[in-house]
Amino acid sequence: MSGILIWAWLFTLPGLLMSALGVGKRPGAASQGGPPVMFVLALVALATGAHGDFRVEGWLPFLPDGAFHLRVDALSALMLAVVGAVSTCVYIYSLGYIPDQVGHSAGYSDEESEVAQRRFFCYLDFFVASMALLVLAGNLAVLLVGWTCVGISSFLLITFLNKKAGTLSAGLQALAANAIGDATLLVALVLVPMGCGDLTTLGTAPCIAGVGGAPLLALLIFIAAAAKSAQGPLYFWLPSAMAGPTPVSALIHAATMVAAGVYLMARTHGLLAAAPSVGQATAVIGILTALGGGILSLQQTNFKRSLAYSTVSQLGYMFAGIGFGAPFAAMFHLVTHASFKALLFLTAGVVIHALHGREKLSDMGGLRKELPGAYAAFLIGSLALIGLPLTSGSFSKDLILEAAQGHDFMPPLLWLGLFAGVFLTGMYSGRLFFGVFHGPRRFLGELHKPSGELLWPLVPLAIGALVLGYLEWPVPVLSRLLGETVGEAEAVHFPSVMGLAAGALGLAGFGLMAWRTEPAIQPAAVAARADDHGEAEHFEEPLEPNVGWSDWAAERSYGLAGALAGIQTGQLSRYILVSVLGVAAILLLTLAGSSVSVSQTFMGPR
């Protein structure tokens, strides 16, 4: 079984080729086969405990460990199962969602529209292949290839709707943040001593003997992971990435790719154990990101962007879990979060689709009766997200909170931040849920009813959001399957004081938003909104640029480059003069430094 699964990164290749060549009547239908196969095979491998290696030596001989090394074990099988499951749902969803995005009203001709749809599924196939390569990588060299490829496919998919304003700059932001991560990973790859590079043994004595030792290596890998998972100051690209189509936001920017950082940290947890200072930094940054993401989510006016900050916040929980030395808790939260966050995003897509592409929260409200399926799905997703006891999110978040409680290296106030974050989670979930589905109707035009392709993928995700927690309780199945790959796992205690308190806190935040007073809406504004739907139909509104420190840094470096360009006058004689002076200076310095006389230099010994 592991023999087949090791080639999982090629499963979507036939679909990619067929979509690219235009096989099949319906665009995208040819690509549907890859993800389910990956999901089923990964589940079987996970259940049977299959593991295996594939190694070709000397693939990149100039690197310390340049072998082409793939590995299937329980951890990679689990990740492949998550990627396979979420992408299966997203592929089906995209069949119904993408045609409207590239329709006539968005400025596409019939032919352009079909080409664009095929292109979309090619990109999706490329992403799934890259992600599979990333999680199957056995050493740093292969990991870097997958790591870079998911960044590229992320860019391609964010900028997919290239007729929409703002997608290119959003894609470039994502590319820039990913480049930071790629660069630090490359430095780590060069720094490890000869013969090292295997991801699971990075923390062993011979591998941390290089320059800088374990702390530097762990720091480089942490920065790479933080860039991919939008942690700390590198959060800025994820909210901007919402310019991509909603299925992409669900698959890449909520469930799988952004979780790759968490996966990498869990995979290399041995290294983190050898560098406790980096582990503590991970925990602090995770907590701060969890709080900051929650606060920023409350301030958003855009539906998807608010969900994106929620993703940033939840990834912060996972990083905190890893920092507190509980990689299993982080991986468990990754799995449950993948199901309920993908569910929330796909539901958001249904709502945006129904409102003819409107993404602003100020256009939403009172959609409970018209969109009962989306209403139920969003409620389930929100409750799992805030950790209502007995839903999946409660078990995984409780595990992280207990790991945080058991630590011994920081003042208690800081980890209580994680606890406060649960309240914020409840507040922003409630704000979205009640703001979108309850209250007065703000959009008075006719709704675009979702097709079955948009609704059916929500069902398995909703079931996952409800029951995935029972993988660990009452019987710890998942931690036993993962075994040594993520270190020792704490058992889930239920009911626990911590879990119940967190659940109550989250629900309090959620309920608080139900009584929030709605801002009064001018009747004229409502009427105007009802009229304008012809223009914005099927076309997601452009996102205003995401202003942050990255923009400031970009402007400064642009100015510096402009100042430096001034020395290039284009005057040939000046260039020659500078060259001559340079040569003269080099000659003088050489001659002054040598004890040999000029004639000896030229004539040599007789």
């Binding site: 284009g570 005057q571 004689s573 001559v580």
Partner: protein, 100 residues
């Protein structure tokens, strides 16, 4: 006077004239000629070194320089001709407008 010093001095003078010409002259043809002068000064030095040391390393290096100089002259003259066709007054600094 030692003949080798004489050749050395000639080589230095050739190089100096070439540098001065390349810096001062505005006509592209004159600049190209000055560059040729510099190359020849260097060539002379190479041949002199080969002669003093009694091997052929310097001579073969000088041959390579000759070939490169020929190639460079072809390209340089081509650019100069294109400039002459394009403009009335030709100044080596004038095409600064094409800088990025």
């Amino acid at each position: 006077m030692n003949p080798e010093v004489l050749v050395l001095a000639t080589s230095v003078v050739l190089l100096a004239i070439g540098v001065a010409g390349a810096l001062i002259r505005r006509n592209p043809i004159a600049v190209l000629m000055s560059i040729e002068l510099m190359l020849n000064g260097a060539n002379l030095l190479l041949v002199l070194g080969a002669r003093v040391r009694g091997n052929v390393d310097g001579q073969s290096a000088a041959l390579i320089v000759l070939v490169l100089a020929a190639a460079e002259a072809v390209i340089g003259l081509g650019i100069a001709l294109a400039l002459f066709r394009d403009r009335d007054r030709v100044d080596i600094d004038e095409p600064a407008e094409v800088r990025g």
